[in-house]
């Protein structure tokens, strides 16, 4: 029987097709070789991709901060304020008025003129737009009365009440206001200005594609820092294993890595760079809220009834037991690979803050004592808890850390029910205190003062309950009303002590944010305590 597609013919054709497919890479252009003047940074996510402070959710900072300059910079090691676009800033009128003097001669990219007070005013006033929800828009909308610009380089902000927190809103990280060019924004409109932002920063935006990449050029003779690389390419690569592969192949020069990828990166000969102490971790023990909230749970073993001293004390014993049960050192070595440690506090109080006490220690790993405490509190056989192993912006390894904690708790007889739920739906529940008493791991960056954090997450009127609600309202209000920094530090310390003694969360320690660097990178001077590192202009070229 004659066959038109005989074996040999088929194999010949199949071989030819395979050869074409295999040869295609060799016929086409070769993969982009590492260009010596180009720095390639890979990010896992960049939020809403908006370059505007009044819309962003902080995750955009690693993408856009290179285009802008802050009014106030930070000392890379101490976190203290240093002049930026503003050469000086001072309060008057009992802290109701803040005056900023701008640096002369700073120019916007692409010929949009010199930075003036009108640009700063225009930027801040965008917060008043009805659809401005990001950054510090809420703060300015609620507290700012008006802004005057008596001369080209002076901005005077008038607030409705006395405000000591104003400078922090113009520094790097929390609430950072990217000063935009009024002239450019008004001439092209918001949508175009968002796609191609114009700033005063060390890199000029050249072009980009939404969800893919953005390309920047170094600004020659920049007033703050002339970048070492002529070109900066920031790419979005969600998968950490692919980012690591890009580093190994030389396509990428800087990428965030953590967990097991740290070891893989080191084995591949890549250097690891740390942004030290960038995130404090703790487990939120939900249920410690006010009676008007759905999560309120005085009968929960770890909460107790505030009106019943014995019940309240038993709740504290259980919380201490939950702290003692966790082997923190195993987390530092196993999950964080030694890039973090037992910095002795976890709820927004950082060692550089005034009033911080070195006597505060992360509770040691002591499961025997934990068992005794549980028995004393009447829970010798354990109890059931719900945990949500979810990824949080600053705690990307939240699921792993939560699981490590859960396994330790189970050794005490505590029944841990895992109820995974995405950040997108779990986050709003936290705001409303409707989490069904579900615990989760939280990672926090620092505020200028812990009070600024506590007002948001400890106060019964605060946005979230990340620790407890209501119990310290009066103390927080008193400290927030205190404008003398020294006195405020005393009140903060006293409140910090009470929080520490209450063991309201499970303190885990402080973690560094880690990056792997390719051969093209020499060194990188990053900011301590800042998780979303953004200052690529301080990256030097390798040998």
């Amino acid at each position: 029987m004659s066959r038109s597609i005989d074996r040999r013919a088929f194999l010949r054709r199949a071989t030819a097709a395979a050869a074409v497919l295999t040869a295609a890479p060799l016929l086409g252009p070769r993969p982009a070789r590492a260009q010596p003047d180009r720095l390639v940074v890979a990010l896992g996510q960049w939020g809403t991709e908006t370059p505007f402070a009044w819309r962003h959710v902080q995750a955009e900072k690693p993408l856009w901060d290179c285009v802008y300059d802050p009014l106030i910079t930070r000392d890379p090691k101490t976190f203290e304020y240093r002049p930026g676009l503003a050469t000086e800033w001072k309060p008057s009128n009992e802290l109701k008025t803040w005056t900023f003097k701008l640096r002369p001669g700073v120019r916007f990219h692409e010929g949009y003129g010199e930075l003036t007070a009108e640009d700063v005013k225009f930027t801040v006033e965008q917060s008043h737009k009805p659809d401005s929800l990001g950054g510090s828009a809420y703060y300015f909308r609620n507290n700012l009365d008006r802004i005057d610009t008596p001369d080209r380089l002076t901005v005077v902000m008038h607030f409705k009440t006395r405000q000591w927190i104003v400078p922090s809103l113009f520094t790097q990280y929390v609430g950072y206001q990217n000063v935009i060019s009024k002239k450019y924004f008004e001439s092209v409109g918001e949508q175009k200005a968002a796609a191609h932002p114009i700033g005063t920063g060390p890199f000029r935006h050249v072009e980009g594609k939404q969800g893919d990449y953005h390309r920047f050029e170094a600004v020659p003779g920049h007033w703050r820092k002339m970048p070492a690389f002529k070109e900066l390419l920031i790419r979005r690569i969600p998968e950490p294993a692919t980012r690591l592969a890009g580093l190994r192949s030389g396509e990428i020069d800087i990428a965030q890595v953590f967990g097991d990828y740290l070891e893989q990166a080191q084995k591949a000969g890549l250097r690891i760079h740390e942004s030290p102490n960038a995130a404090q971790y703790w487990v939120i023990l939900t249920g410690q809220t006010t009676p008007d909230r759905e999560d309120f749970c005085p009968q929960c073993a770890w909460v107790g009834d505030q009106k019943d001293p014995r019940s309240w004390e038993n709740g504290r014993k259980v919380r201490l037991a939950l702290n003692l049960a966790v082997n923190k050192k195993a987390i530092y070595s196993g999950l964080w690979k030694g890039r973090g440690g037992d910095t002795p506090y976890s709820y927004y109080y950082y060692p550089f803050h005034r009033g911080y006490s070195a006597d505060w220690k992360v509770p040691p790993y002591d499961p025997d004592r934990a068992k005794k405490l549980l028995a004393e509190a009447g829970h010798a056989g354990g109890f059931e808890v719900r945990v949500n192993p979810y990824v949080q912006l600053v705690a990307q390894d939240g699921p792993d850390v939560m699981e490590a904690v859960a396994l330790d708790w189970e050794k005490l007889g505590i029944k841990v029910k895992r109820v995974p739920e995405a950040t997108s739906s779990f986050g709003p529940k936290g705001r409303l205190r409707k989490t069904n008493k579900t615990f989760s791991v939280y990672g926090s960056p620092p505020f200028d003062e812990p009070l600024a954090g506590w007002e948001r997450v400890l106060h019964s009127k605060g946005a979230f309950n990340l620790l407890l609600d209501g119990a310290f309202d009066e103390d927080i209000d008193a400290a927030m009303r205190e404008f003398d920094p020294a006195r405020r530090a005393q009140l903060t310390h006293a409140l910090g002590q009470r929080l520490y003694d209450g063991y309201h969360g499970v303190m885990l320690g402080m973690k560094s944010i880690t990056w792997a660097l390719g051969k093209k990178v020499g060194s990188w001077s990053t900011l301590a305590y800042v998780p979303a590192e953004t200052n690529y202009e301080y990256v030097t070229a390798g040998s």
Partner: protein
């Protein structure tokens, strides 16, 4: 045939209306985009003001009326998250998805059909066993694992191909192969089994007895009849390939529709989710219609007139 097509078109329209109602309701039941977008410090008043600004405080019936009337004009609204027209964002991403899916489809056609037919014709040969082993492996290997393996071999070790991203024609090769791999295995198995069924049939024997060339027997008589299930499977497979793959796009940092959709679902970005689902349902309805028409062409015994 024209009555059949008109009937199918009407059915498709009804399906799309149902889809529009379901997707409209589901995305709203799944959560509030403003609550997700708002920073921790935003007050309930801030959230309420934003909701009112975007018209999300209106009744569902009113919102649906606006949605459907605008959608009929091709306007699916502005993305809540990105503040850009939803269709503009989809159009930007669709080029990348089409490029990736197109290559995957090409690989599937070039590899799965000939190898499937050959394996059936040469049943029991070494190549048949190899093809079956490949098919089993292809369907068993998860795409994320295969993708990372290809990246490691061709990107890191051999440095022949880029590890991620989009740009040159080389960038699409690894994600295209990863995306097409599973489909090749599935379609190859289906083609082989369908061909085995038809090769043993009486009309194929008759064709051979009549002395027709083997090429004609295989392709005109056997394959044409074996193609019915293959066409159905392939059509839906191609639509799926051309509509983005979340896993492959994530592994390769490929800026396609899949990543946009998963982010939109995660952030409850109603306009994008609605626009994508409506476009997808239109594509599926169109392809199903096309498949039905192809049935009639491939097998005249099928009559739709009734």
């Amino acid at each position: 045939m024209s009555r059949f097509i008109a009937g199918r078109l009407a059915q498709s329209l009804v399906s799309m209306v149902v889809v529009s109602i379901v997707v409209f309701a589901l995305v709203r039941l799944s959560g509030d985009p403003i609550a997700i977008m708002a920073p921790p410090e935003a007050s309930q008043a801030d959230i309420a003001r934003m909701r009112a600004y975007l018209g999300l405080d209106r009744s569902w019936a009113s919102q649906y009326g606006t949605f459907i009337s605008h959608a009929l004009r091709g306007d699916f609204g502005t993305s809540v998250r990105f503040r850009r027209p939803a269709m503009e964002l989809i159009a930007e991403r669709y080029g990348a998805t089409l490029e990736l899916g197109g290559l995957a489809v090409l690989i599937v056609i070039v590899v799965a059909l000939p190898v499937g037919v050959y394996a059936a014709v040469h049943r029991g040969s070494g190549l048949d066993y190899a093809a079956r082993a490949f098919a089993a492996l292809g369907q068993a290997v998860p795409p994320f694992w295969l993708g990372l393996l290809l990246v490691l071999v061709f990107g890191v070790l051999l440095r022949l191909l880029p590890t991620s991203g989009r740009g040159t024609p080389l960038h699409v090769l690894l994600p295209g192969i990863t995306l097409g791999w599973f489909a090749v295995a599935g379609l190859m198995r289906l083609t082989r089994s369908a061909m085995l069924d038809t090769l043993g049939s009486e009309y194929v024997k008759l064709a051979r007895i009549k002395g027709l060339p083997e090429r004609t027997v295989i392709w005109r008589h056997a394959f044409k009849n074996a193609a019915l299930p293959v066409v159905t499977f392939a059509a839906l497979l191609f639509v799926a390939l051309l509509n983005g793959s979340i896993i492959v796009e994530t592994v390769f940092g490929w800026p396609g529709l899949g990543l946009l959709v998963i982010e939109a679902v995660d952030s409850r970005d109603y306009p994008i989710v609605q626009a994508v689902v409506m476009c997808l349902s239109a594509m599926y309805a169109g392809v199903n219609l096309l498949v039905d028409v192809l049935y009639a062409y491939l097998n005249p015994r099928i009559r739709y007139s009734s």
